[in-house]
């Protein structure tokens, strides 16, 4: 890891000309992405150590933190996402007397897209940023260096448990988001659009396929891996003290958001066209 930092030092002085500067930034980004993928690969290989007693404990702690930290926000967001979806589609569908179909609309949109997407954004902002801040602080206070000197691999000791926790927790939280969203839609249907709960549920379960659920959950796993990778990489490459920690946190949120959007689109394309 320090090897990589050293290489980066060569690129440190930014050229003044904007064109070259742009090139340099692209180069640095590619370098960072390559680095992050190496870190991911090495951490994935360490998953085989996840069942040793001490690692198991650490994974459990991370699962708990990931699951609990964002549950409150996720509950509110999921509920309102479902309600908004129901209201928007319901108002349009009512013009054709089709408002009962909000069940299908809400369910499909939630499980295919909005569930994993919303969960991903919230986890990136809450858990991802916290990971980046924690690992960033560890980096600038030389705790990572201390681990390296003790030959305790940070990828095994720190990255792997967070990666596993996010990859496992994301689909679980997504299912929770989906359920709450669908319930929220049902409530709006019953109170605002005059769709009986039973009709809503029948309609919701009739058209949604298992494939929709699987693709949604696949997305969730991928988003979890993305968030863990970006957050850990940003944290472990933090430089320049407290300012650097702030920057690592901000970058983690921004990069995760962008990647969730782009990768989410690509996965949808892959499975539905």
């Amino acid at each position: 890891m320090f090897e990589n930092l050293k290489n980066l030092n060569g690129y440190m002085d930014m050229p003044r000309r904007s064109f070259r500067r742009f090139g340099r930034i692209i180069l640095l980004s590619c370098h960072g992405a390559g680095d992050a993928l190496m870190m991911l690969g090495s951490s994935v290989l360490y998953i085989r150590t996840a069942f040793r007693p001490r690692a198991r404990h650490e994974v459990a702690v991370q699962l708990f933190i990931t699951g609990i930290k964002s549950l409150g926000v996720i509950t509110v967001v999921a509920f309102f996402t479902g309600m908004i979806l129901a209201l928007q589609t319901g108002l349009e569908l009512r013009r054709f007397g089709q408002e009962v179909n909000i069940g299908t609309a809400v369910t499909i949109v939630m499980i295919r897209e909005m569930g994993p997407f919303m969960t991903g954004l919230i986890i990136a902002a809450s858990v991802g940023s916290a990971i980046a801040a924690q690992l960033g602080t560890m980096t600038v206070s030389e705790e990572i260096a201390a681990l390296e000197v003790m030959s305790i691999n940070p990828n095994r000791f720190l990255v792997m448990p967070r990666l596993v926790a996010l990859a496992v927790m994301m689909p679980i939280l997504t299912i929770y988001t989906n359920l709450l969203g669908i319930v929220g839609g049902g409530i709006v249907g019953a109170t605002q659009l005059g769709v009986a709960m039973q009709a809503y549920i029948d309609n919701a379960t009739r058209y949604a396929e298992n494939k929709d659920l699987y693709v949604g959950l696949f997305k969730a796993v991928v988003f979890g891996i993305i968030i863990a990778t970006v957050a850990c990489h940003q944290g472990l490459t933090t430089r320049e003290g407290a300012v650097g920690v702030g920057r690592a946190t901000r970058r983690t949120v921004i990069i995760s958001f962008l990647m969730i959007l782009v990768v989410g689109y690509m996965i949808t394309r892959m499975f539905y066209i």
């Binding site: 440190m12 206070s141 260096a145 201390a146 000197v149 003790m150 030959s151 305790i152």
Partner: protein, 256 residues
């Protein structure tokens, strides 16, 4: 034991080490002094490849650590114990868990043996009352001592200390000096100590080395160091009220 061969290192556009060569003989305590930002910590980090030199080689015995990778590097690093300038304790582990970490991660010792070893080391540093505290609840000096306990818990043959006594009261500072001296005289451990405290440097060092402007301006025994003709060294000595026939020699005579 440790040898630097023409090490040059540039960091952030500044040449921190400029063609530096020196040797740390086995079983000796070499003290590195120098002004803030002179490159003392950077020098120390080169010894365990936390930095790699731009040019030159760092050897540990016969091994070239500056070019080592993977398992080989791991093996070389296991010969070291390192106390970092900021102690570098893991914040979410207690004092006990911090010191036990290398034992738990790197050895097959039973929990009882680990507990015994850890408490022994903590007792050595007068820190046995703090076993269940978290680093955030300790003062800087106490964190330093826990960091030191962690550095020596694996019984390394080489120990690197980055400012072991800064932030400590004079009494505890002398305790640490004594510990470093005992490790050398009783166990033959090789040490490199970075410090600003010349009194402790003169007390524990078998050699003292001053870094200034990326170069080693003096590398001598304590006696020769205080008699150095080098201006930078003289200014450094005067700043700590040590003159050639001054307080230190008198102090040592009453001690010995």
């Amino acid at each position: 034991m440790i040898s630097f061969e023409q090490i040059t290192k540039t960091l952030g556009g500044k040449t921190v080490l400029d063609d530096v060569s020196f040797e740390v003989p086995r079983g000796e305590t070499v003290v590195i002094v120098g002004l803030s930002g002179a490159g003392k910590s950077v020098t120390l980090k080169h010894m365990v490849q936390l930095f790699s030199p731009d040019c030159g080689t760092v050897r540990i015995g016969e091994d070239v650590i500056s070019a080592a990778k993977g398992a080989e590097l791991e093996r070389m690093r296991q010969r070291f114990g390192v106390l970092f300038q900021g102690a570098a304790l893991l914040q979410w582990l207690t004092v006990f868990e911090n010191v036990a970490l290398p034992l738990r991660e790197k050895t097959d010792l039973s929990e009882e043996e680990i507990e015994k070893t850890v408490l022994d080391k903590l007792r050595l540093l007068n820190m046995e009352d703090a076993v269940d505290k978290f680093p955030a609840d300790l003062s800087g000096g106490m964190q330093k001592r826990v960091g030191l306990a962690r550095a020596i818990v694996m019984n390394p043959e080489i120990i690197l200390y980055d400012e072991p006594t800064s932030g400590l009261d004079p009494v505890t500072a002398r305790l640490i000096d004594q510990l470093i001296e005992n490790l050398r005289s009783e166990l033959g451990i090789t040490s490199v100590v970075v410090t600003h405290d010349l009194h402790s440097a003169l007390a524990i060092g078998t050699r003292i080395m001053m870094i200034d402007g990326g170069k080693i301006v003096e590398n001598a025994t304590p006696h020769d160091f205080i008699h150095s003709e080098n201006e930078t060294v003289q200014r450094f000595l005067e700043s700590q009220y040590i003159t050639r026939r001054g307080s230190w020699e008198k102090g040592m005579q009453t001690h010995g």
